[in-house]
Amino acid sequence: MIDKRIPTLEEAVAGIEDGSTILAAGFGAAGVPTQLIHALLDQGARDLTVVSNNAGSGRDGLAALIAAGRVKRIVCSYPRTSGSVVFEEFYARGEIELELVPQGTMSERMRCAAAGLGGFYSPVSVGTKLAEGKEVREIDGRIYVLEMPLQGDVALIHAAKADRWGNLTYTLSSRNFAPDMAMAARLTIVQTEEMVELGDLDPDHIVTPGIFVDRLVHVGKNA
């Protein structure tokens, strides 16, 4: 029987290794897997590379993980937001590496890894500082840079509804990076607001098929 449900957050993040690449879903405060990030904080893995659109806000979630000195490197498009004080302190002291990636290139590189492709040619960033060191190529009269797949060891995802096979739906803008990240990691861990019976989700409305999900923990609505 396929049953991806895990009783506790602690068990859900068990085994995440030092040096892992963590794909952390969320855009702004929507769809952020806050409980899983706090469980990862308790779990103890170090030297992490975190892939996330932003670099944390306030003192919770990703900011807490950075504050605890556990994030070696962050891959993101927009690290600086109104509340990104922890990241900024670490960055100013040279205690965290930053790989800045155009926002669309971030999700496309994850999708590339998920789809088993070796890389793709993108017109984005051509002729800019962010293309320095990248292979440039003219195709059909337009200039592109070669972008490489971005694979995660672990993805942390927040879903609205899930069934025991790991099929997921999301609510509105909480979807954002979750489907791309869920596909692109070797181990995909999901916190869900609601756990439903197998067959309750309409096959036409499932956004992330369970094949991309490994572990599932029920955290309730005010996650």
Binding site: Y91, Q103, G104, P123, L172
Partner: protein, 230 residues
Amino acid sequence: MSATETIARLSRRQVAWRAAQDILDGWYVNLGIGLPTLAANFVPADREVVFHSENGLLGVGPYPKPGEENPDLINATKEFVTLLPGASVFKHSDSFTIIRGGHLDLAMLGAFEVSKDGDLANWTTEDLRFPPGVGGAMDLAVGAKRIWILMEHTTRKGESKIRNACGYPLTAAGVVTRIYTDLAVIDVTPDGLLVRDMAEGLTPDALQALTEAPLSFAADVKVLTAPAVE
């Protein structure tokens, strides 16, 4: 009273109003942070325009009333928003398929500088006190069918933001198609910058004096005006 004081400079909101008048019925539009976002308020009521948000929304509506905010519904600026009937939600890589793939009719963006060739610099001033951020700026700049820039014509120090070449790091080369400032509306054409509208009180020479890049002027240059808007 000096000469510059007689120039009928538009306010920031009036620049947004002016640009919004040129958004056509049926267009799919992405609005950048700041000044461009204001334009959503000023689209003529008889035009149906679909606003796109990078985080995966089409059909973004006005801000919610206080108390009606939905934590699952924010735009790319992380503001609470609403959705209009006909709105749709999609994952991030699909959102940037829309952007990069040329499916947006227009992206309205802010800028630090624009060059005479339509080069755009709007992502970093290389202020080393802060980490750089790029967001979706480079994707939008190369992806949308039209790139319109909304900005002040000059810096606070009075230096031209419309230059022969950008001094700040590029976002993308040769992508800007039109510039709306507090002083003028300028098309970027294969033959250079062409002034379409000019604020009252300015002469071509006076506008050129405030602009580093060489300007030419349309035969029928119009007066840049906007109503008092809040």
